[in-house]
Amino acid sequence: MPKIRDIAQICKSKNAGPFLVTIDILFEDPARYRAVKATGVINEALFARLYGVKESDVLLTPYDSANAFKATLPRLVPAGGIGDTDVYGAQQHAPLLDVEVPINL
């Protein structure tokens, strides 16, 4: 089964203000995006499981215009606070890369 790292063109994270991190997955091919969306694999529960956050804290928006999924989570520590490990929030995407998506390539 293909993984997100095999089928997406972009998978990235970044701050959305100092209190949130936003994670995007983009596909170049609209048909592939629609196929991934149809599997339902990319949902709030996936992010809750991968990041250990509450499902109700995940704001997930499929964005058809951009062939993209966007998930926004509250940061563990506000940017630059005591114990923060990633001030820009730019390295929080990796757990998604190995998520398997049941589509045919």
Binding site: G17, Y63, S65, A68, K70, P78, A79, G80, D86
Partner: protein
């Protein structure tokens, strides 16, 4: 067909751009040139400390070329969120660099400085009148929170820029401003529709980020009627639907609703279409006016910080690292208490690279597979002396604490630097993140005009 062209030189003033990109961009005869100089992204320190996260040398280089080009073409040059954080010291720093360049290059122009650090007691009165609202789970804004902040800036919309342009300003340096506002202002003032003008601002705020290869450089946006076209001047880059869509998701919690001063930019039905091999047309956005609000950003002192950096290559230690760090914490606690520093007067955090140094509590992989581990130890205390004392004890305890089956009896850690302890000085934290409803979009942002003549 009416069109309006805007040239952004880079995502952040001082990140650099190719001089050739500026030359090609200027040959397209833009109506305005500029750059956004700021962001909260580098964290709370710069707003609190009154300094820029970019260097003076790099900022001066970027600005010099822009000012020369803008004056030669007689178009306005606009800098948003001056000095990185847009407070009073940041704006003064930016203005001083501009005056210096003007002297060196014999440039003359009317300059506008738009201030964005509102009076504290005025803010208290507004908060007490119920005109502020918290964002992102912050508590309500009260007098105490406002007064204890080190610095609070308000984020301006397009109106102060429009006012400065109406007054004939040729160079505008703004304090804290909403990233797209400086661009939306110029386009809306020229009679373009708000929706594509705001969207153009979103594209321009980070220079060439909507391009591939994605690196700091220039971006040209052309607004026509109800759509816009994004194109990088630099021939090594191009805009593709993917590169533009990627940037459309940038730094926002929602890809479809963008709350801006005075309205909501709705991008649910946006289309990204190929215009040419190197340009993308974006259409389908809409703008709905809303009651006017501006965002407030503020930071307060959280303490004073010191850090130390070290690493281990010892497999016996790596195999029991969690227990070792517990032992280490207990030793630091006891020894600090012995010299009179109680456990509740400081916070110590150990980041372990090779384990979970990047993702901390979000790291799903628990097993360590690396042959070496790196550590950054952080101590925050109410004064620098205490932070320094505890970090010194944390450093020596990290080096010398005993552990079961220990072979490396002379020391557990490699320290790369002498001195090993690094004083980071004051530490700030975001304490104000609220909206404020002003009576007038310009009332919080006084404009000062200056004739620069050389």
């Amino acid at each position: 067909m009416k069109e309006y062209r805007l040239l952004s030189t880079s995502g952040i003033l001082g990140y650099g751009y190719a001089e050739e990109s500026l030359r090609i961009g200027m040959a397209r005869e833009p109506h305005v040139i500029g750059a956004d100089a700021g962001s909260t992204d580098p964290g709370p320190f710069y707003l609190g400390n009154g300094t820029s996260f970019t260097s003076r040398l790099a900022v001066k280089r970027d600005l010099r070329l822009m000012l020369i080009a803008a004056r030669a073409a007689k178009i306005p040059c606009i800098i948003g969120t001056s000095g990185g954080a847009g407070g009073e010291p940041h704006l003064a720093w930016q203005a001083e660099i501009v005056r210096e360049i003007a002297r060196e290059e014999k440039l003359s122009f009317k300059m506008a400085l738009i201030h964005a650090e509102p009076d504290r007691e005025d803010l208290v009165a507004r908060a007490e009148a119920g005109l502020t609202k918290p964002l992102a789970n912050m508590p309500e804004l009260d007098a105490d929170r406002i007064r204890r902040a080190k610095r609070i800036v308000a984020m301006m919309g397009p109106e102060p820029f429009i006012k400065a342009l109406d007054e004939g300003a040729e160079v505008i340096l703004a304090g804290r401003s909403s990233d797209p506002a400086q661009w939306a202002a110029a386009a809306i003032r020229a009679g373009m529709q708000p929706a594509p003008s705001w969207y153009a601002g979103k594209m321009l705020e980070c220079g060439a980020e909507p391009t591939t290869p994605k690196e700091p450089d220039c971006l040209l946006v052309t607004i026509r009627d109800d759509y816009l076209i994004c194109e990088p001047p630099n021939p090594i880059r191009r805009c593709t639907p993917l590169s533009v869509a990627n940037f459309a998701l940038h730094e926002n919690s929602s890809p479809i609703h963008h709350v801006e001063p005075g309205g909501l930019l709705d991008t649910s039905n946006v289309r990204f279409d190929i215009e040419t091999e190197r340009a993308v047309r974006v259409s389908g956005m809409s703008w709905t006016p809303r009651p006017y609000t501006v965002k407030l950003e503020g930071v307060e002192l959280a303490g004073y910080r010191a850090i130390t950096i070290c690493g281990t290559r010892d497999p016996v230690l790596i195999s029991q690292i969690d227990d070792y760090l517990d032992t280490h914490r207990a030793k630091v606690l006891a020894k600090a208490a012995a010299f009179g520093v109680s456990p509740d007067s400081y916070t110590m955090v150990v980041r372990t690279y090779g384990k979970d140094g990047v993702m901390a509590g979000w790291e799903p992989i628990k097993q360590i597979t690396s042959h070496e581990l790196g550590f950054v130890i952080e101590v925050v205390a109410q004064d620098q002396d205490t932070a320094n004392a505890v970090i010194a004890m944390a450093r020596t305890s990290m080096l010398h604490a005993d552990f079961p089956e220990r072979l490396c009896k002379e020391g557990n850690m490699a320290f790369p630097f002498s001195p090993s302890d690094i004083e980071l000085g004051p530490m700030y934290q975001f304490s104000v993140f609220h909206t404020l409803a002003p009576k007038d979009p310009c009332e919080l942002f006084p404009i000062e005009y200056e004739t620069v003549r050389n």
